[in-house]
């Protein structure tokens, strides 16, 4: 199952957050990592698409006072989702080997 860039970002953010993965937290995680604004429209429609593909599972969680007593849409990455994200990451790593920015990155790290 192939995925796009934003789908990969979403899966990765959800995997990093683990049990605490839900709409607002994932959005914050993506915005923090990419330094770009993540629209709520893109987030929720992508969540639906990924759920349809069977790459993640969502359900309505508990309501908290800081959310005005409203429930969260909780997210969990499925085994199929992990596989798809791994495949995407491998492809990006492979394709980046030997290009200028990859070399720069390695030199910056060392």
């Amino acid at each position: 199952m192939t995925i796009g860039e934003f789908e990969y970002l979403l899966l990765t953010a959800a995997a990093r957050l683990g049990e605490e993965a839900y709409g607002a937290a994932i959005r914050q995680e993506i915005q923090g990592a990419t330094k770009r604004r993540c629209s709520i429209g893109a987030l929720y429609t992508t969540l639906d698409r990924l759920e349809t593909k069977g790459l993640l599972k969502t359900w309505m969680g508990d309501a908290t006072p800081q959310r005005g007593g409203r429930a969260k849409r909780m997210v969990r990455v499925t085994a199929k989702g992990v596989q798809a994200a791994t495949a995407f990451y491998d492809a990006v790593t492979r394709v980046s080997r030997g290009v200028t920015w990859e070399a720069n990155r390695i030199s910056t790290r060392t």
């Binding site: 429609t45 959310r67 409203r70 849409r73």
Partner: protein
């Protein structure tokens, strides 16, 4: 300004599924977004959701098969019923004399005319409710767009009138074009206000109610469902027949026919909608009564 913006957010959020609405509103509260950002984000989400809906066939079927035909037919029939009942009402109100009441013939005529007008109004409400119901059922969540278009066509046809070429092609009969009725329609009330009241109360409101009920179609047993859809189809057929019937009336220069000569299927058009409203209302009351009895034995 902020309060108005949040109010808009609440209104727009109604276009989402209840669970999603809850999650999105919660996300806004948690991330501390400004009302403007929230509204922009929400509009984006709603737009994406609506565009996804329009990739399916149902909203298109509702738009092409129901919105324009039902709205135009209802507007025409509503205008015609309003005008014919305006003539009846003008005749009685402007020539009323209590001494007439002693006359048996007058009483019979009066009862027949009132029954005719009331039956016509009931029929019009049922047609409107049925149109809204079918539209709501077919459109589902696309009802926001289809419903708005339906109301727009309804009001446009009523306020601006039909395009001239369509009037000719449908061979419409209009009470206000009959010279003997000129005195009735000389005043603005019977010419403009009365038809607008009829249109709003008997067409627009029942249509909106029908849309709401069509969205929440109650889970009925199969025989009842079949009966409901058969009677709704009958109701729509009788609505479509109206032009033909009135065209005949116009061609033969006949007065509007009295109650027994109405299209014979028309009374049946009332049974389906009224039956459904009755069954769902009684069912809701009964379940409410049962749950209150269970919680307070």
């Amino acid at each position: 300004m902020t309060r108005i913006c949040w109010w808009c957010v609440d209104i727009v959020a109604r276009m989402l599924e209840p669970d999603e609405r809850d999650a999105v509103r919660g996300d806004f509260a948690e991330s501390g977004e400004t009302s403007g950002q929230a509204l922009r984000g929400l509009l984006g989400l709603v737009l994406r959701r609506q565009s996804a809906l329009w990739r399916k066939w149902r909203p298109w079927l509702a738009l092409l098969g129901a919105v324009a035909p039902f709205a135009i037919l209802l507007s025409l029939v509503s205008r015609r019923m309003a005008q014919s009942s305006a003539v009846t009402s003008w005749l009685y109100l402007n020539n009323w004399d209590w001494t007439y009441v002693r006359n048996t013939g007058f009483r019979l005529d009066f009862a027949r005319d009132v029954a005719f007008v009331l039956f016509g109004f009931l029929l019009l409400s049922c047609w409107s409710w049925t149109s809204g119901f079918v539209l709501g059922y077919l459109s589902r969540r696309a009802i926001w767009i289809n419903g708005a278009l339906f109301c727009l066509v309804l009001m446009t046809v009523d306020l601006l009138g039909m395009p001239r070429f369509l009037v000719r092609s449908l061979l419409l009969s209009r009470a206000d074009t009959f010279s003997a009725n000129a005195v009735v329609f000389a005043g603005a009330f019977y010419r403009q206000v009365f038809p607008l009241i009829v249109h709003t109360v008997l067409v627009l409101l029942p249509s909106l109610w029908g849309m709401r009920q069509g969205l929440r179609l109650a889970a009925l047993p199969l025989p009842l469902q079949t009966t409901l859809w058969a009677s709704l189809a009958l109701a729509m057929t009788t609505l479509a027949m109206q032009n033909l019937v009135w065209w005949q009336v116009r061609t033969w220069y006949l007065e509007p026919p009295p109650l027994p000569h109405l299209p014979s299927l028309a009374p049946l058009a009332i049974i389906g909608p009224l039956g459904y409203i009755l069954v769902t209302t009684i069912g809701r009351r009964w379940s409410g009564y049962r749950s209150s009895r269970l919680s307070h034995p």
